[in-house]
C-alpha cells in the first residue's frame, strides 16, 4: 500500500504543531531559531496545498485524524496534543489554501501558550475567535459549556405542558376586530448629527471607568445596613485603589480619598464604618501602593505635581515608612525631590517614625531625612538628630549640624561645641555656621573665649574667618569692644598670624556695620599687610554704602 503524499504532509504538520508549541514558548520572536521554525512550518503547509485545497483535522480524545487516517495518537493524559484541542471543545480544524504566514504564526503562538497558568483568562477557542482567522476554520462542541444535561428538551417539554390545552385562535380572530388599531410608532431615520453624537459617546466610553466604580462603591459603603458588609465593600475599594494606581490614575484615588476623609471626619459616623474607611485610606499609603508610586515617578512619565501633592495631603502616617523605603531606591533626582516633599508633608503626622529613617544604612537617605526634619522644624526631632552627629559620613554630619543649629535647644549647644573640636575642618565650619542661628550669650562668650586662646592663631584663615563671621551676629557693644581689642593687639612674634586675626576682625566689623569704628579701620587701610589692607578697605566700603 502506498501512502499518499498529502497524508505524509498531514502527519508532518502535526509534528510542526508539536515543535512550534515548544519553540515559540521558548524563544522570542526575533530569535533565529524562532524565525527558522516559522519558515519551515509554513513551507510544510505550502507543500501540502500543492496537493489539496483544504487540510482538515478531526480531534478525538486520544487521536487526531486526517481524512479517515490516524495521524497522531497518545493514550496518556500529559502532553497529549489531541486532548489539548479536544478538552476545550474543539472537534475539527480546517486550514484553507490561502493561509498566510501571519495566520499560521498566530495559530502557533496561541497553541504554544501556557494554558495551565491561572492568569490566562481565555481558553484556546476564545483566542482563535478573537483572531477571526480568514483561512482557519474550526468546529466546536459547546455542550460542555452547559451546566446540566439537555436543558433544551427539558424546557421544551415544560412549554408543551403549559400548552396542553389547544390554543384559541378563533377567539383571537374575533377579539382582533375589537382591538384598537396598532400603535403607530413613527420610526425616524438616524441622521448624520446623531451619528456624530454616537461617535463622541463611543470615544468617551473608551476612557477609564475606575472613577465611576469608586463612586459606586462609596455609595454602597455608606448604604449597606449590616456591619459585616462594610469590610466587604472596603475590600473592593482597596482592590480598586490598587487597580487605579496600576493604571497611573492617581486622580481617581485622590477623589476617593477626599470623600473618605470627609466621611471619617463626621462626628456621627458608625465605629465599624470608620474603621473600614480608614482601612482604605491606609491602603492608599501602604508599601504596595507607595512602591508603585515610586516606580511611576522614576519612570519619567509626566506627573501632575499638584495632583500628587493633593494625594499626599490625604494620606495617613502609615505612608511614612514606605516612602522612606522608596526614597532609598529611587534613581532619578526629580523623583527623589518629589518624595522628599511628600515626606515633609507627611512627617508632622508622626515625627518619631520619620526619625527612624535616620538609621538607614544609606548615607544619602539619612541626609534626606535630616533635610526633611529641618524643613518640618519640629523640635521633637532633636534628640534623634543628636545621635546622628556621630555619623561616619561627613555629608551627613554637615547636614545634621546645620539642622541642629536651626532647631536649637540646650542639648544642641553642647553637641555643636564638641563639633568645634572635630578633626575635620568642614565639620568645624558647619558648626560655626550653625551657631549663627543661636543668639545666646553663652555662645557669644564661648566664641570670644576660643578666639582669645593661644591655639586660635594656628587655625586656618578660612576657619578664623568663619569664627568672626558668626560673631557678627551679635552686634552689641561687648562684641565691638572685643573686636577693637583684637584690632589693636600688638605683638612682635608671628606677625603674619596676627594680621590674619586683624583682617577677619575687620571683616566682622564690616558685617556689624557700626560707623563708630571707621577711624580704626581707616588706620589699617595703609597697613603693611596686604591682607589686612584689603579687608579693612572692604569693611569701610561696606559700612559706607550701608549709610
Amino acid at each position: 500500500m502506498t501512502i499518499s503524499d498529502d497524508l505524509i504532509l498531514a502527519k508532518d504538520i502535526i509534528q510542526v504543531f508539536l515543535k512550534g508549541k515548544k519553540i515559540l514558548r521558548m524563544y522570542p520572536q526575533n530569535n533565529p531559531i524562532y524565525m527558522k521554525t516559522i519558515e519551515d512550518s509554513f513551507n510544510k503547509f505550502d507543500d501540502f496545498f500543492t496537493y489539496q485545497d483544504t487540510l482538515r483535522y478531526v480531534f478525538r480524545q486520544n487521536e487526531i485524524l486526517y481524512d479517515t487516517e490516524q495521524v497522531y495518537e497518545n493514550p496518556e493524559k500529559e502532553d497529549n496534543l489531541a486532548l489539548f484541542f479536544f478538552k476545550d471543545g474543539l472537534r475539527e480544524i480546517t486550514f484553507r489554501k490561502g493561509l498566510t504566514a501571519n495566520e499560521m504564526e498566530d495559530f502557533l503562538r496561541i497553541i504554544s501558550m501556557d494554558f495551565e497558568r491561572e492568569v490566562l483568562e481565555d481558553d484556546i477557542v476564545t483566542l482563535f475567535w478573537e483572531k477571526d482567522f480568514e483561512n482557519i476554520q474550526y468546529v466546536v462542541d459547546e455542550t460542555f459549556l452547559a451546566d446540566e444535561e439537555d436543558y433544551e428538551s427539558q424546557a421544551m417539554s415544560e412549554l408543551e405542558e403549559k400548552h396542553k390545552d389547544p390554543d384559541n385562535l378563533l377567539q383571537a380572530y374575533e377579539d382582533a376586530f375589537k382591538q384598537e388599531d396598532a400603535k403607530e410608532i413613527a420610526v425616524v431615520q438616524i441622521v448624520e448629527t446623531e451619528l456624530q453624537i454616537l461617535f463622541k459617546e463611543l470615544e468617551d466610553d473608551a476612557q477609564d471607568k475606575i472613577e465611576k466604580l469608586n463612586n459606586i462603591l462609596f455609595e454602597i459603603l455608606i448604604s449597606v445596613e449590616r456591619k459585616n458588609e462594610y469590610a466587604d465593600v472596603a475590600t473592593s475599594l482597596i482592590a480598586s485603589v490598587e487597580y487605579a494606581i496600576g493604571k497611573g490614575n492617581l486622580d481617581a484615588v485622590r477623589k476617593l480619598l477626599v470623600r473618605l476623609k470627609r466621611l471619617t471626619d463626621r462626628q456621627d459616623i458608625d465605629g465599624d464604618l470608620l474603621f473600614q474607611a480608614k482601612r482604605v485610606i491606609y491602603f492608599a499609603g501602604s508599601e504596595k501602593v507607595i512602591t508603585a508610586l515610586g516606580e511611576m515617578l522614576d519612570s519619567g512619565q509626566e506627573i501632575d505635581e499638584k495632583l500628587f501633592d493633593e494625594y499626599i495631603d490625604h494620606l495617613e502616617k502609615n505612608a511614612i515608612l514606605p516612602f522612606i523605603k522608596v526614597l532609598g531606591e529611587l534613581k532619578t533626582i526629580h523623583a527623589r525631590k518629589i518624595v522628599i516633599d511628600a515626606l515633609v508633608t507627611l512627617g508632622p503626622k508622626d515625627i518619631l517614625t520619620l526619625t527612624k529613617g535616620l538609621n538607614d544604612p544609606r548615607w544619602y537617605v539619612t541626609r534626606n531625612i535630616i533635610y526633611i526634619l529641618r524643613n518640618i522644624g519640629d523640635k521633637r526631632a532633636v534628640d534623634h538628630l543628636l545621635k546622628t552627629v556621630q555619623h561616619t559620613d561627613i555629608r551627613v554630619k554637615k547636614e545634621v549640624i546645620r539642622t541642629l543649629g536651626e532647631l536649637g535647644g540646650s542639648n544642641v549647644l553642647v553637641a555643636l561645641r564638641n563639633c568645634l573640636d572635630d578633626k575635620e575642618i568642614q565639620v568645624r565650619i558647619a558648626a560655626l555656621k550653625a551657631f549663627s542661628n543661636i543668639s545666646s550669650d553663652t555662645v557669644k562668650k564661648m566664641l570670644m573665649d576660643r578666639i582669645m586662646k593661644k591655639e586660635f592663631k594656628d587655625k586656618s584663615f578660612e576657619e578664623k574667618k568663619e569664627y568672626f563671621t558668626t560673631l557678627a551676629n551679635w552686634k552689641d557693644s561687648e562684641v565691638l569692644e572685643f573686636l577693637v581689642k583684637v584690632m589693636k593687639k600688638r605683638s612682635f612674634f608671628g606677625r603674619s598670624k596676627l594680621f590674619e586675626n586683624k583682617a577677619v576682625a575687620a571683616h566682622c566689623l564690616g558685617l556689624i556695620g557700626s560707623k563708630k569704628v571707621l577711624p580704626l579701620l581707616n588706620k589699617h587701610k595703609n597697613s603693611n599687610s596686604k591682607l589686612l589692607r584689603e579687608y579693612a578697605y572692604t569693611a569701610i566700603k561696606r559700612i559706607d554704602s550701608a549709610q
Binding site: L159, A182, S223
Partner: protein, 467 residues
Amino acid sequence: MPSKEELKIQKYAQDFVNQLSVVLRTSQIHDLNNVAVKSNIEKMMSHVSALLGMENIITLEVRGEFFYFNEYRMRYPLEYLLNFDFLMREFKKRELGSFIIVKNVTLQDMQTFIRAFIESPYATNPYERIEEKMKGIENIKIDRLKSIVEEDFLDVRKMVKKSYFNAVSFTKGVIHKIKSGEKVSLKKAKRVVESMVDHILEQEQLLLGMTAIKEYDEYTYHHSVNVSILCVALGQRLGLNRKMLTELGMVSLFHDIGKMEIPPEVLNKPASFTEEEWKVVRKHPSIGSRALLKLKKLDELSIRSAIVAFEHHMHYDFTGYPKITDPKKLDFYSRIVSLADQYDAMTSARVYSRVPMTPDKALSLMMERAGTQLDPLLFKFFINMIGVFPVGTLVMLNTKELGLVYEGNQIFVSRPRVMLITDNVGNRIEGRVIDLTEKDDKDQYSKSIVKTLDPNKYNINLAEYFL
C-alpha cells in the same frame, strides 16, 4: 487574521459601496451631467478600478439583511451606516439582488446602469425594467433578489437554538455557583457569549426570535440571556467590534446577578410587591455589583459589569433606583442594558409581576420614556433594530388574516416577515411566511399590519413556531 492585502480590499470595497450609495442618491436629485454627480461617479470609478486591479470581478450581493462582497459578508464602519442602509433599501425596492462588475467596465456602462436604476422605482416591475435597459451591456451584470429558502435555515435554526439553551443553562449554573460561593469559570462564560455574538452577527433575527418566548419556569435565567442577546444586537447596530460585543454580552448577561439573594417566592410572586418586598428588590443592583467584584481580580470586564449591574435601574434621568448622592451620566453600556432590560421585562409576565405587554405596546411605552428614563438616541437605534412589530407579535393584517411576526426587516421597520396562522375568516392554516414588503400589480403593499394582540392570552405556543 486577514492579511494586509485583504484588509486593503475590504477597505476599498467599503468605500466603493458607500460611494455607489452616494452616487445613486445624488443622481435621484440631479442630472447625470451635474458637476457634483459627475465627480461622485468619477470617484466611484476610481474605487472600481482599484478593486479590479486586485480582484478579477466585483460582486455585490444582497443576502438577507447584509451585503456580500465577493462572497464575504461586508462589515462597515459606523460612518457608512446611513449610506449602506440607503443602498440596501434601494436595492430591495427594485428587487435587485446582485450587481456584478467585470474588467473593462467603462464610464458609459456605469452611467447606463445608474440611469436604469433611478428610473425604475416608478415601474411596476422594477427589476425587469432595469434588465431591459441594461441590454447589451457586457461588463455589468445584475441578478434578481433571491428569497431565502426556508429549508436551508433548518440546520442553522437548530444550531442557534442549541446555543441559546446552552447559554441559559450556563447562566443558571453560574448564578447557583456564585450563590453558593463556588468558583465560576469566566473562560466558559466568554465562550458562551462569543457563540451568541457569532450567531447574532450572522443570524440576528433567529436569535431575536428566541427572546420572544417568555413562558419558561426559570424565567430569570432566560431573562439574562435575552437581555444579553438584545444588547449585543443593538451593539452591532452601534458599530461595536466583536471584542466589544463580547464584553457587552458578558456584562449584560450578569446584570441581574444580584437577584440571587431575592427569595424566589418574592421574585416569582404573582401579585404586586409589598413595601417590604420592594425594599429587598431594590437592593439587587448593589448586591450584584458587589458579587461581581468579588468574582475575580479587578479588570476592565469586572469593573464594567459592576457598574452596569449597579446602574441598570437608575434611569437616564436618575429617577430610578438606587438613589445616590452625586449621580454622574450613566455608563454607555448601562444605558444599553436599561433599554434591553425594560423591553424584556415589560413583555414578560414574571419580572416584577407585571402583566405582559405586547411588544409593540411595550415599545410605545418606551417611546414615551425616551429622553426621560431612557436614552433617546439609543432608543432610536433600538427600535430600528427590533422593528415596530418585534418578532413574536400576534398581528391581524388588513386582509383580516392572523399572523405572527416572524422576522424583522431592518430597512422597512414596520414591514416584517409574518407567518400566517389563520385565513381571513379565522380558520387555522399551516404556517406560510409572507413578506410585508411585497407589492401588488398597482405598486401598493399587498398586506399591512392593522392590529396587535397578546399571543399568551389565546394560549398560542410561540415555541411551536419559533423553535
